[in-house]
Amino acid sequence: MSSQYHDPANVTNPEHSEHHIIGPGTYILVYVSLLILTGLTVAAAFVDLGILNPVLAVGIACVKGTVVILFFMHVFYQSKLIKLTVTAGFFTFLVLITMTLSDYMSRAWGLW
């Protein structure tokens, strides 16, 4: 009876993926690009770009964060489930930010 229903895909979940080992080469590449990006934000901070200054700073931070998540944290090689989980986290974070912000923005900004 048992083998008939046996579904090995379910023991190790269908959501799993192969364990992937990332070598030092990738890490060095990532490391260097992170340092470069850090230099870039600092440099950009000294250039007057008006409204674009904070946008650029946060933009670069996002890129750096993504790189860390994808490579240092291996998400690039992980199962869909993990990718989805990470996305869900940032999604909820964005819900918090945007929905709250939308309340403040539709009032008189800065004047309550």
Partner: protein, 555 residues
């Protein structure tokens, strides 16, 4: 396919408590305090939350006694304020949030999905310790003189204008919050990673689905409460001023952050209850749940949309009119999945073969009371109506209908339903039916008048009130007394049944879930051999088939 009802199994009469089970697997209090067995942890939780329910209930009793007369006569104003604050905090954070997930969920989810334990047994134990640790803080706050912020910790009142134990209580809630985060985390991982072979998502019992949805809310919502409380505590202790208007902070920011957790929290509280109702309705109608996937998806939809509506608690608090509009609309949307569930449960009964044991009575009470509670929530979600109703007893009635009439009834339904599995013994049937009816009547008598009081304009958190509100308040207090008896009875007879209850056997309800196919009380390892799921959830034909086979093999 020919329909199937199941003749009672012979095992009920000949049943004995199995020699080896999780309860007697090890002896001594330490074996409980250091257990990693999800079932034992569930029992630890059950004992603790029952204790705190009685504490919270006693506060409720005192509140109702005070409100018997319009004058402030039983207790002083600040004592009254402490009473409802501690009633709210204890009931919500120490009772209702952990109620079903941490007890029934903890006990049943691993068994239902066919595994030996939760993914992280030690973290599970840790979460009980965190709960107890937080509870100690809260008890300390109570014993040392109480808090009187209201369970909502409204700033700047809580940060600058009160001299009570806000910090202690805040830290207590903070710690309890982590207990609930870890429970949720454990459930999610377990449900994703540890299902038995053949246990696909759409073969999961609906109880698992709804707990899964609640866990997502716990994991993503609770941290926001945690950081908010940290800021409140810092503001009180070193005066940092993030929420203080005199320092340029915004008290509304607190409201946003608090309700970002606390609205999802109400779904943390109700969703596991939904799961229980699905199980109970199906079992006592001997029929699969009508529209399985609709019920499953509606849980997920509630969890998802639950994050988008928090500002409906702030409609008159000074949010912009436009965002009030958006949040009101979303509130209406989030009410729809609940409606879907209610109708699906009703239709589960159609063409069934229904019996009315206690869990079913509680479940029927749930459906009625939750419908009232939910639809009055729609009153509150409707902007213009909310202006008149907010901060009045209408709200008090609304949330007691969903939390007590809904979740507490569901908890009792589940507790009775799975009591045989938890303990191996039956609860006494007729007295428990009596208590179900008593609490139903008492409940309505308590909280129905509060709807009227609310529309009349009686504000909540009022220690004294104008005399023309007295009649309704007297009714409410009378109801609370009945309700108190209705809730006290189960505590007593369930304790009694531990020793004197009839021995239940493996599957007294002839239910289909995996948990009913193993001995009761279960073994520490749950299963002797790992199960393989080869049929849908709620497959009564499979069960009938199985029992027939068993009868022949045994006989």
């Amino acid at each position: 396919m020919s329909a199937a009802t199941i003749v009672n199994l012979p095992d009920q009469k000949t049943a004995v408590i199995p020699k080896k089970n999780y309860i007697n697997a090890e002896d001594g209090i330490l074996s409980w305090l250091f257990t990693a067995d999800h079932k034992r942890i569930a029992i630890l939780y059950l004992i603790s939350i029952t204790f705190f329910f009685l504490v919270g209930g006693t506060f409720a009793g005192l509140i109702r006694l005070e409100l018997l007369t319009p004058q402030p006569d039983l207790v002083a104003s600040d004592t009254y304020n402490k009473l409802f604050t501690m009633h709210g905090i204890v009931m919500i954070f120490l009772f209702l949030v952990p109620s079903i997930p941490a007890t029934l969920g903890n006990f049943l989810i691993p068994i239902m999905i066919g595994t030996r334990d939760l993914a992280f047994p030690k973290i599970n134990l840790l979460s009980w310790y965190l709960y107890m640790f937080g509870a100690i803080f809260l008890s300390a706050a109570i014993v040392l003189g109480g808090v009187d912020t209201g369970w909502t910790f409204t700033t700047p009142l809580s940060t600058h204008y009160l001299n009570t134990h806000v910090v202690t209580a805040g830290l207590g809630v903070f710690i309890v919050g982590f207990s609930s985060i870890f429970t949720g985390l454990n459930f999610i991982v377990t449900i994703h990673r540890m299902r038995a072979p053949g246990m696909t998502w759409f073969r999961l019992p609906l109880f698992v689905w709804s707990n899964y949805a609640a866990s997502v809310l716990m994991v993503l919502g609770t941290p926001v409460l945690a950081i908010t409380l940290v800021l409140v505590v810092l503001e009180r202790t070193i005066g940092i001023g993030v929420f203080d208007p005199t320092k340029g902070g915004d008290p509304l920011l607190f409201q946003h952050l608090f309700w970002f957790y606390s609205h999802p929290a109400v779904y943390i509280m109700i969703l596991p209850g939904f799961g229980v109702i699905s199980e109970v309705m199906s079992t006592f109608s001997r029929k699969r749940v009508f529209g399985y996937s609709a019920v499953a998806f509606s849980s997920v939809a509630i969890a998802l949309f639950g994050f988008f509506v928090w500002a409906h608690h702030m409609f008159i608090m000074g949010v912009s009119n436009y965002s009030a509009l958006v949040f009101s609309l979303l509130t209406m949307l989030v009410a729809v999945p609940s409606a879907i569930k209610v109708f699906n449960w009703s239709f589960t009964m159609q063409k069934g073969s229904i019996t009315f044991e206690t869990p079913m009575l509680y479940a029927l009470a749930f459906i009625g009371l939750f419908t009232i509670g939910g639809l009055t929530g729609v009153f509150l979600g409707s902007l213009g109506m909310d202006i008149h109703l907010t901060e009045t007893y209408f709200i008090v009635a609304h949330f007691h209908y969903v939390m007590v009439g809904g979740m507490l009834m569901a908890f009792l339904a589940g507790l009775h339903f799975w009591w045989p599995k938890l303990t191996g013994r039956m609860y006494p049937e007729s007295i428990s039916q009596l208590s179900a009816v008593t609490s139903f009547i008492g409940f309505n008598l308590t909280f129905m008048p509060q709807f009227m009081l609310g529309y009349l304009g009686m504000p909540r958190r009022y220690h004294s009130y104008p005399p023309e509100f007295q009649v309704l308040n007297v009714l409410s207090t009378a109801g609370a007394t009945v309700l108190g008896f209705g809730f006290l009875m189960p505590v007593l007879y369930l304790l009694w049944s531990l020793k004197y209850g009839k021995i239940a056997g493996n599957n007294p309800w002839q239910a289909t879930g995996l948990e009913w196919q193993i001995q009761s009380p279960p073994l520490t390892e749950n299963f002797i051999e790992m199960p393989v799921m080869d049929h849908e959830a709620y497959d009564y034909e499979w069960l009938a088939h199985k029992t027939e086979q068993e009868v022949t093999t045994v006989g």
